[in-house]
């Protein structure tokens, strides 16, 4: 829901963004002047004023990154004083200006779509992984397993080599063996974290002991996770993928149920400025439909609601197994023990007392969202391929059908993909090799489709993809490219035999008023036709009524 000042705030923000370009240009001009004369007093003053203004206004307008960038630059201005500014100062300021420009461009709704949604069909660069493992056999096993997941893997034996291998372009992830010299391994992690941009890579530490203290120590020195040897590779890949996806993932969605417009506006301001997608409803009766349409990562529930208690609402939500892992934070005005007990008993994960400080709200929400997303990944994803499970896939498909009902112009295609003669692959090369083929296909689908696309493992060797916002022809072209590329991949069995595999696909576009089962059935029939037509091909089903 929206309040008058919400709209006004949005208007003011639009004005602020519009004017930002001029401010940045002013900063650039001042820097140009300083490049000629590092002591130009007007330019120095202009620069300091410009950064100072952005420090104060950025986060006020919901862009904390702007404030943070500008503050650092402003501090440098203070340190430089009346000059002269030297080359390193100018370089640092230029970088800040570039960063500011990027922040403003990203916040501008009229700007090009955000870069996190690459076009479908275009392969994203594979995440690069550096493995530091002393034991040659374990190193090779890890490299092989990660390579199958379409990661770009480099490996080195010693920690000395690792420091060199870190190089100026940091990897997306570092997996380091701490079973030998633990101190040196942790020092490497700390060294990575201290580099510019070193907070970004995912770091996993492999240890010989799985004691709590080892884990704690690993995490304390900056690792994102700790695995005990012998490593459960599937679990490691699952964690790795979750951590890597976190960055490119969609903004977490927060749903607030609150009938107080001022409280809702406060929550919106705090959460939206931290990058969350926020939606508020004031009528508890809309909860069910909002859960389905908005698919929140977390619910903020006020307890005093018109006609119903927030606690009862949490209880009813928990009875639905689809929402079993959904984090719920209960907001109350009274901080007594009773309220806390009641919140816990109803199934709330956390209990906050109003007025909530923005910092506490943000840290609580962030922690709950991350845990919730990981739990959901375990529940919703297939353990081998990391794709959606059958149940989750159908649940998502229901969401797509619901969208089509509201907006009949929407396009969506169901693509049913089935590996050809997969039984023969298993029979000839063994099940582990068969699993490898499944993982390769899953990796290809994941690399070529958008993160928001619905991609699942429908059954044993059957996969399903729901492509939204593409016409049936465009969807067929995309799948045809996937087919050709997959057919070109050379697989290798454990015994070293090389072979190729193919798939057939059936495609059906969603018709007006159609149910999920009818839609899936249509794709199934098309798949059957593709198989009957000789396999390794795609058939698009006819339009239906």
């Amino acid at each position: 829901m929206s309040t008058a000042w919400d709209d006004e705030l949005a208007d003011l923000r639009a004005v602020y963004l519009r004017e930002a370009r001029g401010r940045i240009d002013d900063l650039d001009r001042a820097l140009d002047l300083l490049a000629r004369d590092g002591s130009d007093p007007r330019a120095l003053l202009e620069l300091r004023r410009g950064f100072h203004a952005l420090t104060g206004s950025g986060a006020t307008y919901g862009m904390p990154a702007v404030s943070a960038l500008a503050l650092e630059a402003e501090r440098r201005c203070t340190a430089v004083g009346s000059g002269p500014a030297v080359a390193s100062d100018l370089k640092s300021w230029r970088e800040t200006v570039t960063g500011l420009r990027r922040e403003f461009a990203a916040a501008d709704p009229r700007a090009a779509p955000a870069p996190e949604a690459p076009a479908r069909g275009v392969e994203r660069p594979a995440p690069s992984i550096l493995v530091v493992e002393e034991d040659a056999a374990e190193r090779e096993a890890l490299v092989r397993a990660l390579g199958q997941e379409s990661f770009a893997v480099r490996a080195t034996a010693g920690l000395d080599g690792a420091v060199a291998a870190l190089g100026p372009r940091l990897p997306d992830a570092l997996i380091v063996d701490a079973a030998g010299d633990q101190g040196a391994a942790f020092a490497l992690v700390e060294r990575l974290r201290a580099q510019p941009g070193g907070d970004r890579p995912v770091v996993l530490v492999l240890g010989r002991h799985g004691g709590v203290l080892d884990r704690v120590e690993a995490i304390h020195c900056g690792a994102d996770g700790h695995f005990t040897k012998p490593v459960d590779v599937l679990a490691l890949v699952r964690r790795l993928r979750f951590l890597l996806d976190r960055e490119g993932a969609e903004a977490p969605r927060i749903l607030s149920v609150d009938d107080d417009p001022q409280q809702a506006a406060f929550l919106r301001t705090v959460l939206a400025s931290a990058g969350y997608e926020f939606r508020a409803i004031d009528d508890p009766g809309h909860l069910e439909s909002e859960l389905a349409a908005f698919r929140p990562d977390l619910v903020l529930m006020d307890v005093l609601l018109p006609g119903v208690s927030g606690y009862d609402l949490v209880r009813s939500l928990r009875q639905d197994e689809r929402h079993a892992t959904l984090p719920v934070i209960v907001l109350t005005t009274q901080g007594e023990l009773d309220a806390r007990i009641e919140a816990a008993r109803a199934g709330g994960d956390e209990h906050l007392v109003k007025p909530v400080s923005p910092a506490l709200l943000l840290s609580t929400v962030a922690a709950r969202v991350e845990r919730g997303r990981f739990l959901r990944l375990l529940v919703e994803r297939d353990g081998l391929t990391g794709l959606l499970t059958h149940t989750t896939l159908l649940e998502r498909a229901r969401g797509v059908v619901a969208k089509k009902r509201r907006d009949p112009d929407r396009q969506a295609s169901w693509v049913m993909i089935d590996l050809d003669r997969f039984k023969a692959v298993n029979d000839d090369h063994g099940h582990p090799t068969g699993d490898q083929v499944l993982v390769r296909l899953a990796g290809l689908l994941r690399a070529r489709l958008r993160q928001a696309d619905v991609v699942g493992r429908y059954g044993g060797e059957e996969f399903a993809v729901v492509l939204e916002d593409l016409t049936a022809e465009e969807a067929a072209r995309l799948v045809e490219r996937l087919r050709a590329d997959f057919a070109g991949i050379e697989h290798r069995s454990r015994e070293g035999a090389s072979f190729r595999a193919t798939f057939s696909a059936g495609l059906a576009s969603l018709q007006d008023g159609e149910s999920v089962s009818a839609w899936v059935h249509a794709a199934d029939r098309a798949l059957y036709a593709a198989k009957a037509g000789g396999r390794n091909r795609i058939v698009t089903g006819p339009a239906r009524r």
Binding site: L9, L12, T60, V270, P358
Partner: protein, 122 residues
């Protein structure tokens, strides 16, 4: 309650006004620099002044000093709005005779509440 907002940055004036008037229900008058603030304070009799520290022409501390010199404005409580949130700076500003110090960036939704708290008014 009437508040005079003094800031040379139009962005800050706009959003502070939104926070104080639309969210906080206060009456707001504005000035874009220290000199203008002196005139507004004499004419509009605000209940409080929200004063930026770093401004061209007449900066915040000098404006405060001039407000104190004039009997017509000497009693108006002044709250500084500063982007320098370090403790020493806050103490320095308070020692000049300010009723309190609020920091930029601020949350427009809670600005009025914070101002009331600093001034000790309900």
């Amino acid at each position: 309650m009437k508040v005079l907002i003094v800031d040379d940055e139009p962005d800050i004036r706009r959003i502070a006004k939104l926070g104080l008037s639309r969210v906080g229900g206060m009456e707001v008058v504005e000035a874009t620099n220290g000199t203008e603030a002196l005139a507004r304070a004499r004419e509009d009799h605000p209940d409080a002044v929200l004063l930026d520290v770093m401004m061209p022409v007449l900066d915040g501390p000098s404006t405060l000093a001039r407000l104190r010199e004039d009997p017509a404005t000497a009693g108006i409580p002044v709250v500084f709005l500063t982007a320098k949130a370090i403790a020493a700076e806050v103490e320095r500003l308070k020692s000049l005779g300010a009723a309190g110090v609020l920091t930029k960036p601020f949350d427009p939704m809670t600005l009025a509440r914070e101002l009331r708290a600093v001034l000790g008014v309900p």
